[in-house]
Subunit: 206 residues, 2 copies
C-alpha cells in the first residue's frame, strides 16, 4: 500500500492535494441546491456535502466553503430562509456539474444550462424539474467550523417529493431506481445499482 503522512500531504501541490483528500472520505451525495435572491434571481449549484442529521425532526446539513468570496447560495438562504435540495441523476450529470462554474450573481445557472426551474407546493425556492427526489428545506441554524473556516448549514425538510416507483413497503427509497448519482472526489460521478439490503443487526452470543 502507498503511505503519506500529514506532513507529506501538506507538501503536495494544490490540485493534487484537493483531488486526493476529496477522495478520502468515500462516496458523496450528489445534489443541486436551488435558491432565489430577494431580487428574484434564481441560483442552482452542485453540492457533494449534503448529509442526514436526523429523522425526527427530519434534518439535513451541508458544508459551505469559507465565505471570504461571495457565495450566492448562502446569501439567498440567509435572505429568504428557504432552499431546495434536488437529487442529480444520470440524465442531468453534465449540466449539474457545470453549475460549479463561478457565475456572477446576476446570472442564473438555470439560464446557462438545460436545467429548468419548477415551483411546487407554494414553496418560494426553485426546484429542479425532472429530478427524482426534491426537498423543500427551511433554514434552521449554522455552525462555523473553527478548524478551517467552513460552515455547516442545517435545515428542516418541509416538503418531500419523490418518484413513486422508488418507494419500498418499509419507507426505503431505492435511489438506483432513478439512476441517482454519487460523487468520487471533486469531479468523478458514478450511477450505482443497489446490491443488497441487510436486516437489523442484533449481537451474536460471545
Amino acid at each position: 500500500m502507498a503511505y503519506l503522512s500529514s506532513k507529506e500531504i501538506s507538501e503536495l501541490n494544490h490540485l493534487y492535494k484537493i483531488n486526493l483528500v476529496n477522495s478520502c472520505s468515500g462516496y458523496k451525495s450528489a445534489n443541486l441546491i436551488g435558491t432565489k435572491s430577494t431580487g428574484g434571481i434564481t441560483n442552482v449549484a452542485v453540492f457533494s456535502s449534503v448529509i442526514h442529521l436526523g429523522s425526527e425532526p427530519p434534518l439535513l446539513g451541508f458544508i459551505l466553503r469559507p465565505t471570504t468570496v461571495p457565495r450566492n447560495t448562502y446569501k439567498n438562504i440567509i435572505d429568504t430562509g428557504v432552499y431546495t435540495i434536488n437529487h442529480i441523476n444520470e440524465v442531468i450529470l453534465e449540466d449539474a456539474h457545470h453549475t460549479s462554474a463561478k457565475y456572477d450573481q446576476s446570472i442564473s445557472e438555470f439560464n446557462m444550462t438545460n436545467l429548468e426551474e419548477e415551483y411546487l407546493s407554494d414553496f418560494e425556492a426553485p426546484f429542479v424539474k425532472n429530478t427524482p427526489i426534491k426537498l423543500g428545506m427551511r433554514y434552521l441554524e449554522e455552525y462555523d467550523i473553527k478548524a478551517n473556516g467552513t460552515k455547516m448549514v442545517i435545515g428542516k425538510i418541509e416538503h418531500l417529493h419523490f418518484n413513486d416507483e422508488l418507494l419500498r413497503d418499509d419507507g426505503f427509497l431505492n435511489l438506483s431506481g432513478a439512476s441517482v448519482a454519487t460523487i468520487n472526489g471533486l469531479d468523478g460521478y458514478c450511477i450505482p445499482n443497489l446490491k443488497k439490503r441487510f436486516p437489523y443487526q442484533r449481537p451474536k452470543n460471545p
Copy 2:
C-alpha cells in the same frame, strides 16, 4: 410524483420514517471507525456520515447520534484522541454491517466478526486489515447540534494508506477500483463503478 409535507412525515411510524428520511440525502460514505479504550479493548463500528471538510489542513467530520446511550466509539476517541477511518469494500460488506449491532463495551467487534485489526505507522488506534483506504485520524474538535442533539466530530488526517492502483496521475483515488461501497438509507449497499470525470468548469458567455 408522491408528496409528503413535514407534518405527514412526522406522523409516519418510526421505522418507515427513518427508512424514508435516511434515503433523502442521497448516497452516503461507507466506513468503519476503529478505536481502542484506555483499558485496551478495541471497537469497530460502521458509519455512513463521514464527510470531507477541507484539504488544507486535511479534515474529515462525522455525525454521532445523541450520547444519552453509551457510545463506545465516542468515548474512546475522547479518551485517547485518535481513531481510524477504513473504507468498506464488497469483500467485508456483511461483517461491516454487523458492527451496527449493539455490543457491550467489554466485547470487541473484531472478535465477533471476521474483521481483523492491524497496527500501522506506530498509530495507537486499530486499522481494519484488507480495507483499500485507511486513515489515521486525530480528534480536533466537536460541535453539538442544537436542533436534534447530535454531535459533529472533526479530526485531522495524520496517516493515509491506500492501494497503489487506485491512484491517478492527478491525485484522484478511483474508489471503484477497489469495490468501495456506498450506502443508501440505513441498510442498502451499492458497489459503484466510475462513470465519468468532468474537467474544471468555467462560466460560458451569457
